[in-house]
């Protein structure tokens, strides 16, 4: 039952991927896409979707959209500018690895935070400790070396949105 719900939840994203990749929009292609999505979902769905109910919740999708727009425009622009300045003048950097705790529950939320951190130039997640819920982040220009201080500078915004989207 759970698996059937998971497959149903995967049909829409996978069909969307199929249609966008194919690039021709007709009813027949849609049908083929749904068939392919069902077969692939049958093969792998239970590994990807643990709680199928979350896929059908439009509020989470709304927050994902807001977060995506905010992240891709403002945060990325700031971070890019910071590292470009360092490329022009490499003497100003202050690198090191800091420890950052995270307080979200699900795997997907943790991965969203980690990938958001890595995707902003200037910070890269080097290692992740699943048991103690800590990430080790290589930061090119350290402002604060304590755990909570570093979290405030690096990942607090991401965490707020990630818990809204996935928890």
């Amino acid at each position: 039952m759970n698996k059937a719900l998971a497959v149903l939840g995967l049909i829409i994203p996978l069909t969307l991927l199929y249609i966008i990749y194919t690039g021709s929009y007709s009813l027949f292609e849609l049908l083929l896409g749904v068939i392919v999505a069902i077969i692939v979902g049958y093969l792998f769905a239970d590994a990807v979707v643990k709680h199928p109910g979350k896929i059908y919740n439009p509020i989470r999708w709304f927050w994902l959209l807001i977060y995506g727009l905010y992240y891709l425009t403002i945060i990325e622009a700031k971070a890019h500018w910071g590292v470009i300045k360092l490329i022009i003048n490499p003497k100003k950097m202050n690198p090191g690895i800091v420890r950052i705790p995270y307080y979200v529950k699900t795997d997907y939320a943790a991965v969203t935070i980690a990938n958001s951190i890595t995707n902003t130039p200037g910070t890269v997640v080097v290692d992740i400790d699943e048991k103690n819920k800590k990430m080790y982040v290589h930061w090119i220009k350290i402002i604060d070396t304590t755990d909570e201080g570093a979290r405030k500078h690096v990942s607090e915004t991401f965490e707020k949105y990630a818990s809204k989207i996935f928890d």
Binding site: S24, S26, L27, F28, E29, L32
Partner: protein, 143 residues
């Protein structure tokens, strides 16, 4: 002038291909490790395939040999002028066809050789040709 540049560039491109073939053949002959030989063999087969495709190129090229704009439901009848125009700008498809299967077959053969290498290592404990020779024949290797 333009023709000179074309000939020069194509001479350069063909010489790089020939140099790669020479390097790989030389390396396969002289490097002692079997995995290195396998890597160079893969590069050699790819280069041969590339040379085949290169011979199929044409002067006014840069169109793949696929008639564009056809989908499952939208398939207009192509008339002779369209087809002639398409064939005039497309590259030669025959070498590409020969190469498509050659790539996958080459992969399968290399996978097979990889299995053989693993078995060889399990039996003799080395993949160096000189040591292997010594172990198989029971005498000293190359003197």
């Amino acid at each position: 002038m333009d023709a000179f540049w074309n000939v020069f560039l194509w001479g350069y491109i063909y010489s790089t291909v020939i140099a790669i073939i020479a390097l790989t053949v030389y390396g396969m002959a002289t490097r002692p490790h079997l995995v290195k030989k396998l890597i160079l063999l893969s590069i050699l087969s790819d280069t041969a395939n590339l040379l085949a495709v290169m011979i199929g190129m044409r002067k006014g090229f840069i169109k793949p040999p696929v008639f564009p704009g056809i989908s499952y439901t939208n398939h207009p009848v192509a008339n002779t002028t369209q087809l002639a125009k398409f064939a005039d700008t497309a590259v030669d498809p025959v070498p590409q066809v020969l190469v498509v299967t050659a790539i996958v077959i080459g992969l399968a053969v290399l996978v097979f050789l990889g299995y053989v290498l693993i078995l060889l290592y399990q039996k003799y404990g080395t993949l160096d040709v000189r040591l292997l020779e010594a172990k198989i024949t029971g005498k000293g290797g190359k003197k």
